[in-house]
Symmetry: C2
Subunit: 478 residues, 2 copies
């Protein structure tokens, strides 16, 4: 245990400095590294493997729901970006501009895509002619660039990876149904694959996406009580279609504009995983996306038969799980700490005494509970224990959210909670932009979402006292 | 068949205008579309699905050989790109420069990566400390940008997709072995997954990669006799390591520079597939990467039981293959032409008479051969027939290459063959840059490779008559 302690001391405690803890974990678990380009990080093998697992699960769901992958260019000509006015206003301050190709100055500047609505619309204007061409359900996996001032690994970087879906539909109803379907897919994914409870809701007018009619979102709560927007799904109406002249012949043989959606999740989700599940021993990974689901650590590996038995266990499990066997020269204690730091959901220890008893020790990463498992039951117990880790993580995160969710009925209450606590604050709202701005100014909270699941807390707006329209979640966000 | 003919007439014949045939196929098979950014194309769902299949097969092989995926930034600071002199000299004329972030001018220009040796070396200098950290076997799947003057879909575009592997090793021997291993993996992939025969060899000094000590390549021959470089693998020695100060403590506890490789294949391979296997009816896809391996077309689908039976066949095959059932209103003839255009390897036709006889008709795309298959044997005959299509494609491509490979013993012969024929020309070479330049100038051919499989054609260089060092393949290339 001496070794173990030493490793643990290398990261800052969460309670002492959550931000420092976060960057320590990112660095020491080898998820990413800083690069020579300010604000851009390198996704290292362990971090990228989490992203690959996320991609694999989500991409399968996208294909099951009839979405098709495409690849649009990296660049957007300035004139194309400017076609939709709200959109350019929202993105112009934060795009990177290419001005030269080789030694020649370009006739028109190109921005590196911050998002690709404009490119998809331009393409759609060429390929959508008739209602028979609809719906178009396209998605792409790529990186996008936004020239942010302050950056943090996974949470906010100048280049980040995501998927962006862009769809076109015959009717508004269909497009709205798609927008909501995608939000449901994201919520299911967060809860069932990332063990991360999320609130589903709609953004206020002020917080919606540049150019959208409505933005739906899932909001997660991090360990420290701050909110993280984990995914968004936008309904555009036919605004972009008009700006980009996307027209189809409808069933009555008349020209009509299609209705549009876009939706995305990004490598931010990795930041959310870290801050939802991590602890003072490092990363804790939900089994569905963990690059290593089970690590096998031989104990007293110099003794006869130990490495052989450990190898046998590894091979038996490798048929169904992502397993690593560590037979390196490091001490078992060092290995325990190392794979705890890396958040591996289950550790299997096997030594001479275990072999005698035809058993192994399985340790859960989430609560460090040890169980003895008969080697005869290995294949059935491991999936049960992985499921238990998933459920344990979800439950813990849900409890954290519930414990840190407050209700404010008056402005004074709101200010007090915002000052003294960190978490979600439920409060009624009149729907007015001014009240939203005022709450930001005097309580320091922004609207997170108008949740699907409404509650009637009172009849009046927490800010102005006029009749309330809906309940809103407020909080501080990453 | 009237419908069928009409579709076919829409593409230019290969023999009339091969370049026009190529762009017709790319467009009509819906592989890609032009974008509003000059020189950049959109990969449409059908084209991108081929790339996804290529990625899946190759990525599995890379992981089996212990390579790990990472993601480096999109941008390279100008000072970093300049660290290795040959490298910057090779790439500076064709990079895109980012000069502004939002409205602010950047302190240092950033180029959009044309390739990522410099970024990997910069990262390696931070993470490689000891021989225990070696080898590092990293790969990334991404797009890169080269500001080409003339572009063609898949063959040469300003942005293109690829994988780039970058590895570091303790010794030169290990690095050279890695370089050659990767070339073997590429060659196996081209031959066994793309049905495309390739020559393995080494590039001449003049043709090698900017900054490399040696470049190995695989060269394929297209239907028209022109060569296409299908993949490259570079050995760098320790040149980049020195330029980027990548140093490790070796087993004798002394500082040492590691030895490096890089290697890549790109979406060019899709261009190679088109030009190797395509015919006047359109695309012909090798089964391993075809997005649709089998299309089921019901005949007289209004008759009772036909669509039900066709659906049943589709579902039986969908367990093991990528299958599409087309029950649309279009005529069978239209569908036959459509899926021929899209290069689907097998077409299954099923109508009332077939159902009576408990059989279906299977048509191979490569030679249009029809076979009647008992419905009881469907699951065993389909993989056999897919294998037959693969073998048929490989054989046809090999015959084309053999028929179009010539031998030149004198300069006059070389000039005559180069003028009258299109194909590979085998000829002896003294190893001198000047002879290579002269052959380019007067015969219009460039060296394709110094093949692994050498032949002794004569004792003297085809150009200068001095003693020959090796046999070289010459030709005109895409």
């Amino acid at each position: 245990m001496a070794d173990n302690k030493k490793m643990v001391e290398e990261i800052t405690s969460m309670e002492v400095d959550f931000a420092k803890w976060y960057t320590d974990v990112v660095k020491k678990a080898e998820l990413c590294d800083y690069s020579s380009v300010k604000g851009c990080v390198i996704l290292r093998p362990y971090g990228y493997a989490i992203w690959e697992n996320i991609q694999h699960i989500l991409d399968t769901k996208l294909k099951e729901t009839n979405h098709e992958n495409v690849a649009m260019p990296l660049f957007i000509p300035e004139s194309l970006l400017q076609k939709e006015k709200d959109h350019i206003a929202g993105f112009a301050p934060e795009v990177a501009w290419v001005t030269h190709g080789g030694s020649e100055e370009l006739q028109e500047r190109l921005c590196v895509r911050p998002t690709s609505e404009t490119l998809f619309c331009d393409h759609y204007s060429n390929i959508i002619k008739s209602y028979r061409d609809l719906p178009k359900l396209y998605n792409q996996w790529c990186s996008v660039v936004r020239w942010e001032k302050t950056t943090r690994p996974f949470l906010r970087t100048r280049e980040f990876f995501w998927q962006e879906g862009h769809t076109m539909h015959e009717t508004a109803e269909e497009a709205i149904a798609e927008t909501k379907q995608m939000l449901d897919i994201y919520a299911d994914f967060c809860e069932n694959s990332l063990a991360m409870p999320v609130l589903k809701g709609q953004k206020t007018n002020k917080e919606k996406f540049a150019g959208a009619e409505a933005t739906y979102c899932i909001e997660a709560m991090m360990h420290d009580g701050k909110a993280l927007q984990a995914g968004t799904s936008h309904y555009f109406g036919d605004g972009f279609a008009k700006a980009f002249d996307v027209v189809f012949q409808n069933r009555e043989n008349k020209p009509q504009y299609p209705h549009q959606t876009s939706w995305g999740v990004s490598t931010r989700l990795i930041g959310a995983i870290i801050m939802t599940h991590g602890d003072d021993n490092g990363l804790v990974l939900p089994p569905a996306v963990a690059p290593i689901q089970v690590v096998v650590v031989p104990v007293a590996q110099h003794k006869e038969g130990v490495i052989e038995k450990a190898t046998e266990l590894k091979e038996r499990l490798a048929k169904d799980f992502r397993v690593k066997l560590d037979c390196s020269d490091n001490s078992p204690g060092w290995k325990f700490a190392e794979y705890e730091m890396k958040g591996v959901p289950l550790r299997i220890e096997i030594g001479p005494k275990d072999i005698e008893k035809n058993q192994c020790v399985v340790v859960r990463r989430d609560n460090r509970e040890k169980v003895f498992v008969s080697l005869d039951e290995l294949e059935s117990r491991v999936p049960e224990l992985l499921k238990a880790v998933h459920d344990g993580l979800f439950e813990k995160a849900l409890q954290n959210r519930e414990r840190r969710t407050y209700t404010a009925l008056t402005l004074d209450e709101m200010i007090q909670i915002a000052n003294e606590k960190s978490g979600f604050i439920k409060a009624m709202w009149c729907g007015d932009d001014e009240c939203e701005a005022k709450l930001k100014e005097i309580a320091g909270v922004s609207s997170r979402c108008i949740p699907y699941q409404q509650e009637h807390l009172s009849d009046v707006c927490v800010c102005c006292g006029k009749p309330a329209k809906e309940m809103v979640y407020w909080g501080k966000a990453y």
